[in-house]
């Protein structure tokens, strides 16, 4: 992520806050969520490759995309699913990827830990 943020500069989106709810406390829920997200990440990367005009950035993005695909196949295998079920992967668009992520409720607002109220400490 650090490398991506440096590459994107001011175009990088703000760092999100996550709440994965109960998916991290149940083995099966964790597996199902991991499979869904690895598949989603692979499709989302592919959906953006056409927007990269720089061959150098395309090379860097492809090197990440292929590893995402390995992760997707690996977690599918661990979950007892066919690692590569289809001969061709379909990309998904950015709005569709964002809609899917938003529907999980995993991205939440950051905790409000600052205030301009006067302290009520003992002083």
């Amino acid at each position: 992520m650090k490398a991506l943020r440096q590459a994107l500069g001011a175009a990088a989106v703000a760092r999100p806050a996550f709440d994965f709810q109960d998916t991290t406390s149940d083995d099966e829920a964790f597996l199902r969520t991991a499979v869904a997200f690895e598949d989603l990440a692979t499709a989302a990367y592919k959906g953006q490759l056409g927007n990269l005009r720089s061959r150098e950035y395309l090379a860097a993005a492809l090197s990440i995309h292929s590893v995402e695909a390995r992760h997707a196949a690996w977690i599918r295998y661990l979950a007892g699913r066919v690692p590569a079920a289809d001969p061709v992967d379909e990309p998904i668009s950015r709005p569709e990827a964002e809609r899917i992520v938003a529907s999980t409720g995993f991205i939440v607002s950051r905790p409000a830990t600052t205030s301009d109220r006067a302290p009520s400490f003992t002083g």
Binding site: Q6, S25, A59, T113, D116
Partner: protein, 268 residues
């Protein structure tokens, strides 16, 4: 689960190794009975070299560095705190979702458990008196949070405050601590909020709230202590406060550039 995953990974690697071996053996057998490969392959001189990636992805960093990393979580709702991971065990505290200053209340989880009915729990460091600093909370009461790789050390005898990150002391300042009749409590605590732009000369330009609570529990807000500036810098250093840690305004402003909510605080 981890064991099963490990077995699967090992099995996967074995299958891969066996597969590679079969392919290599078959290839060697094929090559030994075929014309030289160079005669079959097209010339490569006309194939452009692939572009170099625009950036290198560095080696990943481990996330489970518990020695130097402290993680905190906000409360998603008011939360009851129990002696053990069960609703049947004694309740030791009721944590409000918000602090007296209106910020999200936070805890520092450090252990998980599941009760007999399958409900997940976490044991967490909580705000309160030194006599009750930990307890069990149902994990669905926790929201998102963050992490800290720094720590703050307050020495009540030497009257110093040190901010340390990655083994380096980045700030040291002289401080005021609690008087003998209202001592600053010793123990392991954490920073739970940051207050700025309030209208109070007494607390200086900046204040941090801690999870530590003084013996002055009937103080408005429950008697929690903080780290803040002062309008009486001439009293520093010394045992001059009602339990809070006072700093010169210039020092608290310097600290404000470094210290984040959730950072562990050791008071000795």
């Amino acid at each position: 689960m981890l064991r099963r995953a490990a077995v699967l990974v090992v099995a996967c690697w074995c299958a891969l190794a066996i597969g590679c071996l079969v392919v290599v053996v078959a290839a060697v057998a094929s090559i030994s009975s075929s014309p030289a490969p160079a005669a079959l392959l097209p010339p490569t001189a006309d194939i452009a070299a692939p572009p170099a990636p625009a950036f290198d992805v560095p080696a990943p960093r481990r996330l489970d560095d518990a020695v130097t990393t402290s993680r905190w979580a906000s409360l998603a709702r008011d939360a009851e705190v129990y002696v053990s991971p069960s609703r049947e065990s004694g309740r030791v505290a009721l944590l409000s979702r918000l602090t007296p200053e209106g910020t999200d209340n936070i805890v520092v989880p450090f252990r998980r458990a599941v009760d007999d009915e399958g409900r997940p729990w976490v044991e967490a460091q909580i705000p309160g008196l030194p006599s009750r600093q930990t307890g069990w909370i149902e994990s669905d009461a926790l929201g998102t949070g963050g992490e800290s790789r720094a720590r703050l050390v307050v020495d009540r005898e030497r009257l110093t405050l040190s901010y340390v990150r990655a083994g380096r002391e980045l700030l040291r300042a002289r401080i005021g601590v609690g008087r003998r009749d209202a001592p600053t409590p010793a123990g392991r605590f954490y920073v739970r909020n940051k207050l700025t732009r309030y209208a109070s000369l007494r607390y200086g330009p900046l204040a941090y709230g801690l999870s530590a609570r003084s013996r002055l529990t009937d103080w408005p807000g429950g008697g929690f202590i903080g780290i803040h500036g002062t309008d009486r810098p001439g009293l520093l250093p010394g045992a001059v406060s009602h339990g809070c840690i006072r700093m010169a305004n210039a020092d608290i402003v310097r600290l404000g550039r470094l210290l984040r909510v959730g950072t562990p605080v050791l008071i000795v």
